[in-house]
C-alpha cells in the first residue's frame, strides 16, 4: 500500500504531542521580541495526531529492508548484525542525557569510556594515538589527510600530490582534494594489488602521501604494503590506510605494524554500530606518534585516577566538529569490543573471511571471477558471463530482491567492469550463505533461459525500478503542495 506524504495527511489544528503547561507569565511574543523578528506561521507544516504519525512511520519502516530482516551483503559496507544489548546501553541516561559542557567531575564515566576506547583502538590497529572526533569514515579521511598536511608543513612544505590506487574507496580522492591535494592514480597490478614498482615510479618529494585501502576493494590483502610504505617513507611521504575493511584482519594483522602512519576506522562497519539507513556512524583516526602533536582538540587524558579533557595542544589542527565526536556510536563500539574480547574479535575476522571465501568458491563456476584464489572479507564477481544474454549486473542485483536478499555493492570497484562486490560478514550462517548461493545460481540460469524476467526485476518489491533519469533531470526535492492551506 502506498503511504501518502506527511504533508498530504492530517487536518487543520491537529497536534501530535502535548507540551508542559506554561508555569510562567504568558506574555505575548510581541512583548518579548521585536515585531519584525516574529514569525506568524509555517504554511504547509504538518498537522497530525500521534496516532497518524505513529502509523505513518510504522508503515514507512515496512517499506525498508534492514539487517534484521535478512542478508545484506553490500561489499565494503560490512553490514553485520547489530547487537541489541548495545542499543540498550547507549540509551542509559548517564550517556544519552549528558550535556557536553557539564563540569568534568560530572562526566568521568564518559571520559573513562573514551580513554579506554582510544586504548583499545590503538591496540587493535597498532597505532599510537587515536582521535575519536570524526563523525564518519569520510570525515576521518579528511582528518587523516589534514594531519599529514600539518605534519609535512611543520617539516617545511605540505607537498602537492597524493597517490591513490584505482581500487580505492570513492571518498579518498575527494578527501585529499578538500585538503588541497591533487590526486594521482596508481594502477593495480595483475594480481589485483598495488605493485611497489608502480609506487616507486610515481613517488617523489612532491608526493605527500599514498592512500591505501587494505584489504582493498577487491577483497585482497595488499601483501606488499610494507615495501610500499618503505618506498613512500624514503621520500618523506606518509602512508594513509583506509580502514573500512578492517573486519578482515582484526586480531590477525595490524596496519600500524606494517608501515601505516594514519588510519581511519569505521565504527559502523567493523564494530557493529548500526548504520541507521545512512548514519550516524563514527570514524576515529589512528595515528603514529610523529603526528600526535597535530591531533584535534580536545583529547582525553588521565591524571592520577581522574580523566580530563585537554584543549591545550598548541600545534593541533583544531577540530573537525563541535564537541567530541559521535559519542553514542562510540559507546556501542566500546560495548562491542568488551563483549567479544581478543579471541572474539579474531574469530570475527576468521569467520568473515571464511564466509566470503565460501561464497567465492561456490559461485566461481557460475559468475566470472576477475581475481582468483582466496579473498579476505569480500569477493568481487562480474557480469561478463551474463552480458552475452543481455543481462547485466544491475539486473542481477534487482532480481536478488525477488529472492529476499539485499543486492551486493554493484559497479564498484571501478576497475572491474560490471562488478558485484559481495561481503557476507561473520554474522551470517552457512544456511543463509547457501540460500544466497542458490539464488545467485538460479538467477544465472534465468539469465540464460528467460533474460527478460531478470531484466524487468524486481517483481516483488513495493515499487518496481525507479526512473532515476527523471529524478535527476526534473529534480523534485521537496513537497510544494498548495501552501497556505485553506483556513
Amino acid at each position: 500500500f502506498n503511504e501518502p506524504l506527511l504533508f498530504d495527511q492530517g487536518s487543520k489544528g491537529r497536534v501530535g504531542c502535548t507540551l508542559p503547561e506554561c508555569d510562567v507569565p504568558e506574555l505575548k511574543p510581541e512583548r518579548l521580541l521585536p515585531r519584525k523578528l516574529l514569525r506568524r506561521d509555517i504554511p504547509g507544516f504538518p498537522e497530525l495526531s500521534e496516532v497518524e504519525v505513529v502509523r505513518h512511520f510504522t508503515r514507512l519502516s515496512q517499506h525498508n529492508y534492514g539487517v534484521d530482516l535478512g542478508f545484506y551483503p553490500l561489499g565494503s559496507c560490512t553490514m553485520k548484525y547489530n547487537p541489541k544489548i548495545n542499543e540498550e546501553v547507549w540509551r542509559l541516561p548517564g550517556f544519552s542525557q549528558a550535556h557536553p559542557y557539564q563540569p568534568q567531575s560530572l562526566i568521568q564515566g564518559a571520559l573513562e569510556l573514551m580513554y579506554e576506547l582510544e586504548t583499545f583502538l590503538a591496540e587493535i590497529s597498532g597505532m599510537e594515538r587515536v582521535s575519536l572526533q570524526p563523525a564518519a569514515g569520510a570525515q576521518g579521511e579528511i582528518l587523516g589527510m589534514m594531519l599529514i598536511r600539518a605534519y609535512l608543513e611543520s617539516k617545511g612544505s605540505p607537498r602537492k600530490r597524493v597517490l591513490i590506487p584505482d581500487s580505492s574507496h570513492g571518498t579518498n580522492p575527494a578527501s585529499a582534494a578538500i585538503c588541497g591535494y591533487q590526486c594521482v592514480q596508481i594502477k593495480s597490478g595483475p594480481r589485483g594489488r598495488i605493485e611497489p614498482q608502480a609506487v616507486a615510479d610515481m613517488m617523489d618529494e612532491d608526493v605527500a602521501a599514498i592512500m591505501i585501502t587494505n584489504p582493498n576493494t577487491l577483497g585482497l590483502f595488499e601483501d606488499q604494503i610494507a615495501d610500499i610504505a618503505k618506498i613512500v617513507h624514503a621520500k618523506g611521504g606518509q602512508v594513509y590506510c583506509d580502514g573500512a575493511n578492517l573486519n578482515a584482519i582484526i586480531g590477525i594483522s595490524r596496519p600500524g605494524d606494517v608501515g601505516v602512519d594514519v588510519l581511519h576506522f569505521n565504527m559502523h562497519k567493523t564494530f557493529a554500530v548500526p548504520h541507521g539507513g545512512g548514519g550516524p556512524g563514527a570514524g576515529p583516526v589512528g595515528l603514529k606518534a610523529h603526528l600526535a602533536p597535530f591531533i584535534p582538540i580536545p583529547v582525553v587524558e588521565k591524571k592520577g585516577k581522574r580523566f580530563v579533557l585537554n584543549e591545550d595542544l598548541p600545534s593541533s589542527i583544531g577540530r573537525v566538529r563541535a564537541f567530541y565526536g559521535n559519542f553514542a556510536a562510540l559507546v556501542r563500539a566500546y560495548a562491542y569490543i568488551r563483549s567479544l574480547g581478543p579471541s572474539g574479535l579474531r574469530r570475527v575476522a576468521e569467520v568473515a573471511v571464511l564466509n566470503a571465501n565460501y561464497i567465492m568458491n561456490q559461485l566461481k563456476d557460475t559468475y566470472h571471477l576477475p581475481y582468483d584464489k582466496f579473498c579476505k572479507h569480500e569477493c568481487v564477481f562480474s557480469d561478463a558471463r551474463q552480458l552475452p544474454h543481455g543481462v547485466q549486473t544491475l539486473d542481477i542485483a534487482k532480481r536478488l530482491m525477488d529472492y529476499g536478499f539485499h543486492p551486493p555493492t554493484i559497479y564498484f570497484p571501478l576497475i572491474v567492469r560490471g562488478a558485484m562486490m559481495i561481503e557476507p560478514t561473520e554474522t551470517e550462517s552457512k544456511e543463509t550463505l547457501d540460500q544466497f548461493i542458490a539464488a545467485m545460481k538460479r538467477i544465472a540460469e534465468e539469465a540464460e533461459r528467460d533474460p527478460e524476467l531478470v531484466r524487468s526485476a524486481p517483481h516483488k518489491t513495493k515499487v518496481s525500478r525507479l526512473d532515476e533519469v527523471k529524478a535527476a533531470r526534473q529534480p523534485n526535492l521537496r513537497w510544494k503542495g498548495k501552501a497556505p492551506r485553506l483556513p
Binding site: 504531542c17 525498508n64 548514519g279 583544531g318 563541535a322
Partner: protein
C-alpha cells in the same frame, strides 16, 4: 558467540567445500612478517549481564539532565522528546539499513528523508535542503566551501558571536584551500557589529556568516546584512544552532539568506554527550548543484507509481571523485529521521507553542536574574532561550559550584571561549526547566555563593 552463528562444525563443512584444511590457509596471503604474533591485549570477553552491569557503572559516573536541573545550552539543547520518537526511530528496518543505494528496498528511508528535506525548507524558508550533514559546525564549514565553489572568492566574514567551536571547525576545514576567515566583534547588545561587517566586506568577499540566535542567545538583524552582502556579490550564510527558534522567529529565507545551515539536535535527538547530532543544510535552488551531501528526489517507477531515489549523484564523490562537492558519504540519516518524527508530532501549532514556551521561560529567568544583586545581564539585545549573565559577586566558577551543591548545573563559563567575558555565564532555559527549577537557580545565584 551469539553474534557468530557458524559453529566449528559449520566452519568445517565450509572449509571442506572450499578445499582447504584450516581457516589459517585463507590468510596465507598475509606474509608472516605482517602478522600479529600474539593475541590482542584487550580485556577478556564479557557476558551480556556483565556488560550491562559494567556499562551501567560507567553511565552512573556521569550526571545527566534527568537527575539534575541543567541550564546548559551553547549548541546542545535539552528538549523533551516524546516517547513516540524513539519508538519509531528504533524500528530495526530503519536503523539496521544502509544508505539507500537500492531504492526498491529503501522506500521507507527515502520517503522519510524527502519529508525531512521539505521540513527543513519550511523551517528555514529556503528552497532546497539536503539529507543531512554531520553536525552544525561541519555544516557551516561546508557552507563556506560551497560559497567558495559558487563565486570562487577567498575572503569570509566570520563574526566572533558565532559559536567558538564552529569557528574552529571552519578554520580547520577551509584553511587548506587558501580561504581566509575575518573575525568581526560584537556590540554591547551582544549582536554582531554590523558596521564592522560592512567595513570588512569587499569585492573579494566570498561570504558573510552570521549565527542567529548567536552564541550569546541574541537574535541578529539579518535583513541589512543580506543587503550588504549581496551588494558586494557575496553570499549570506546563516547558521542556527537552536532550531526551536524557527517556531517563533522569522526565517532566514525571508531575510534573504543564500545558505542556511545549523544544528538540528534540538529536534528529537538526545544530548548524547555531544553527538551524534544533526547538521541541516538548505539553500536557494539556484545553488543546488553546488550543494554538498545526499539528496532524495521524487520520481516514478515503471508502473508510474511515485517513488523516491537518491539523486543528483553526479555532484558526489563516487562519480566525480576529487571534483565532488564534498566527500560526505555516511551522514546522519537516523538523526534526521528522529527530527522528522519529532517535527511531525509537534506540527504547525506545537512548534510555535514550544518556541513560545522557551521564549517565555527564558524571559522569566532573565527578569528574575536581572533583579539579583550578585548578577546583571551582560547584553541588551533580544534573546530567544539563552542569555549572558555577568557575575558581579565572586566568580562564575564559584557560582556554578554553589549551584552544583544543590544539584543544579549552572551556565557555561564564557571565559573558556572569550577571555573578555571571563566574568560571565551563558544561561539556557528550555521547556524542561520548571518554574520551580528556575526559582531555585535564581535563589542560589542570589545567595552570593
Amino acid at each position: 558467540m551469539q553474534y557468530i552463528p557458524n559453529t566449528e562444525a559449520d566452519c568445517r563443512e565450509m572449509l571442506d567445500a572450499i578445499g582447504v584444511r584450516s581457516s589459517e590457509e585463507l590468510f596465507a596471503d598475509i606474509p608472516s612478517k605482517l602478522r600479529l604474533k600474539r593475541g590482542l591485549n584487550l580485556a577478556p570477553p564479557m557476558s551480556e549481564t556483565g556488560l550491562r552491569r559494567h556499562m551501567k557503572g560507567l553511565a552512573d559516573k556521569n550526571a545527566d539532565v534527568e537527575h539534575y536541573s541543567s541550564f546548559l545550552g551553547a549548541g546542545a539543547y535539552n528538549h523533551f522528546i516524546p516517547a513516540a520518537v524513539s519508538h519509531l526511530v528504533f524500528r530495526s528496518e530503519f536503523y539496521t539499513a544502509y544508505t539507500p543505494y537500492q531504492p526498491e528496498l529503501s522506500q521507507g528511508t527515502l520517503q522519510a528523508i524527502y519529508e525531512y528535506q521539505t521540513l527543513i525548507c519550511q523551517l528555514t524558508g529556503m528552497e532546497v535542503a539536503n539529507a543531512s550533514m554531520y553536525d552544525g559546525s561541519s555544516a557551516l564549514a561546508e557552507a563556506i566551501l560551497m560559497a567558495h565553489r559558487i563565486n570562487g572568492r577567498l575572503e569570509v566574514v566570520l563574526p566572533l558571536a558565532v559559536h567558538p567551536e564552529y569557528r574552529t571547525v571552519c578554520h580547520t576545514y577551509v584553511s587548506k584551500l587558501g580561504l581566509q576567515l575575518d573575525e568581526v566583534p560584537y556590540t554591547d547588545q551582544g549582536a554582531t557589529d554590523l558596521k564592522k561587517v560592512g567595513a570588512a566586506i569587499s569585492d573579494r568577499t566570498c561570504a558573510v556568516v552570521i549565527q542567529s540566535p548567536n552564541f550569546f542567545g541574541v537574535l541578529e538583524s539579518l535583513d541589512e546584512l543580506a543587503e550588504t552582502a549581496h551588494k558586494a556579490g557575496a553570499l549570506l550564510i546563516v547558521a542556527v544552532a537552536e532550531p526551536v527558534s524557527f517556531g517563533i522567529v522569522r526565517s532566514p529565507g525571508e531575510s534573504g539568506a543564500d545558505i542556511v545551515v545549523g544544528e538540528g539536535q534540538a529536534f528529537g535527538n538526545h544530548l548524547n554527550f555531544g553527538g551524534p547530532y544533526l547538521g541541516f543544510f538548505a539553500s536557494k535552488e539556484a545553488y543546488l548543484r553546488n550543494m554538498p551531501g545526499r539528496l532524495v528526489g521524487q520520481t516514478t517507477d515503471k508502473a508510474g507509481r511515485p517513488g523516491y531515489v537518491l539523486t543528483l549523484a553526479t555532484r558526489e564523490q563516487h562519480i566525480r571523485r576529487e571534483k565532488a562537492t564534498s566527500n560526505i558519504c555516511t551522514n546522519e540519516g537516523l538523526c534526521a529521521l528522529a527530527a522528522t518524527v519529532h517535527l511531525s508530532l509537534l506540527g504547525r501549532a506545537g512548534l510555535r507553542e514550544l518556541a513560545l514556551l522557551n521564549l517565555r521561560k527564558a524571559a522569566y529567568a532573565k527578569e528574575a536574574i536581572s533583579a539579583l544583586r550578585s548578577c546583571e545581564l551582560r547584553f541588551a539585545g533580544p534573546t530567544f532561550n539563552e542569555f549572558v549573565v555577568r557575575v558581579t559577586r565572586g566568580t562564575p566558577a564559584q557560582m556554578n559550584r554553589g549551584l552544583l551543591a544543590r544539584r543544579i548545573i549552572g551556565g557555561v563559563e564564557l571565559g573558556r571561549f572569550y577571555p573578555e567575558l571571563s566574568d560571565c555565564l551563558l544561561i539556557c532555559v528550555t521547556e524542561q526547566n520548571s518554574r520551580e527549577e528556575i526559582d531555585a537557580l535564581c535563589k542560589t545565584m542570589g545567595s552570593g555563593r
